[in-house]
Symmetry: C2
Subunit: 285 residues, 2 copies
């Protein structure tokens, strides 16, 4: 497991819970502590972590970080792949990921992309789904790892397809959060019972765990970051750029980008549930 942020740590802990042997590397070594405490071995270089592993998975901030860990001194690509593939679980701009995949394959490591649906909670409970892109045989090779980590592996096409789908999914996260915010803003402008509206929504054909979760966090004033507004904005901007570059005329993604853009950096560090409070004000009860 290369990358021990919140998601990488949760995924590593899940594998340890399934009695897998887990070898980890993180640029800041102190972040490997929770995994070491749970029985993983921590390594000083990517090459050392990769050397004895059956599968190599990366969860990093962006494509630049992935490229660095592939091609740096003592990087992943310095170790012979010997039939293995590199399974990247992060979210990337699809074109960048596809380009990086070509470089990685040329260095002997075919790449499989498998960005995730869900949060740390899903990673811990094995309820993630993976939006997978890559060649058929590479995806098959990666499947045992992915099925250990989640409950759904959806192969959408060649390299880039998984991250295209991930951005499309996060567009839906954005419109649902933004829509709920505009809906509740209207209710609050007229002094109406927000909790009753959320109950009715939950009983309707629109019901979604996302609405239930965001609605409750709004009512509780709980905006501790699970998925920050900054990350949502970044994914929406990528989705918007990707759609425009694909010759499409997106309407909702740009509207959301215009909505999120003016927020302060501090506001964007909050959970995306804070978008409801931003649009509708904090609940009075």
């Amino acid at each position: 497991m290369i990358g021990c942020g919140a998601m990488g740590t949760a995924l590593g802990l899940r594998l340890l819970g399934l009695s897998w042997e887990v070898r980890v590397y993180n640029r800041s070594p102190e972040r490997t502590a929770p995994l070491r405490d749970a029985g993983a071995s921590a390594h000083a270089t990517p090459a050392e972590a990769v050397a004895g592993a059956d599968w190599v998975a990366t969860v990093l901030t962006d494509s630049a970080a992935l490229r660095a860990l592939l091609f740096c001194d003592q990087g992943i690509a310095s170790v012979p792949a010997a039939g293995r593939r590199l399974v990247d679980l992060g979210t990337h701009q699809p074109a960048q990921l596809a380009a990086l995949g070509a470089e990685s394959a040329a260095a002997g490591w075919p790449l499989v992309e498998a960005p995730m649906t869900g949060s740390v909670h899903d990673a811990s409970h094995g309820t993630l789904h993976f939006l997978v892109g890559g060649a058929e045989e590479d995806v098959e090779w990666a499947s045992p790892l992915l099925w250990a980590l989640g409950r759904g592996v959806h192969h959408l096409g060649g390299l880039g397809a998984g991250n295209t789908a991930k951005l499309a999914l996060n567009l839906l996260v954005g419109v649902m959060a933004g829509g709920l915010g505009e809906a509740i803003a209207l209710l609050r402008a007229h002094g109406l019972a927000v909790d009753s509206f959320l109950d009715a929504l939950d009983g309707s054909g629109l019901a979604s765990p996302l609405y239930r979760r965001l609605g409750q966090r709004y009512l509780d004033g709980d905006h501790a970051p699970r998925f920050s507004l900054a990350n949502l904005e970044k994914d929406l901007r990528w989705e918007c750029e990707h759609a425009l570059a694909s010759g499409l005329q997106p309407r909702l993604a740009p509207a959301l980008c215009r909505l999120l853009g003016p927020l302060t950096e501090e506001a964007k560090r909050r959970d995306y549930s804070a978008l409801i409070a931003h649009l509708a004000g904090e609940p009075s009860c």
Copy 2:
């Protein structure tokens, strides 16, 4: 039951199925046939239909139709209310509905608004929820009728509150349908597997019966109208106007209005699932 369109008919049939006595009136008498065949009595004027009824419910196209049937010759208001209330189940512009409620109350008939979540299918199966507005005692009075017709009665505030909530809910219908359309458009621009994406969506925390239903109708090319794009556009325009009049700055509702506006009238007669096909093209498989 005043108004025997698709919803009024389904609601009347449900009451007949519960062994209620149902008296109906419709401006075009031939539309009462399915209810007559099932045992309802049809009447020549609103006054006659209302005369012997315990509850009076209306499901009409708009506020003008409701006003006409209240105050026309032999209209509802020509009959003494004798403690009864008028329960309107349609969708209206909240300000118009509130004004009409004041007129109705002045004529002796306090109004309860109870616009519905869901479609004809929910009406038939008793799975509707009602977004209710009106005075507490009027809503209590209407409750036995509403609980017979659905499985949730959500009292949101005074007259106008129910329709404000209904428009807020339909904003969410709009953003979900529009968002799914933009998401699938992106997938299709890259030749990706739409059905796999829909599976992943259904396994994620965003999952919603609406996505499952719209996705399937898209894949099936089935756009027979349950909720037409024309009606969705009308509700979104009302929501947008209502938000602007409330001093809010809506972003998503206007973006959707700009998306739907240019469609032809013929295109707008199709089900709102046709929005996916409009944005993403018909599926090739």
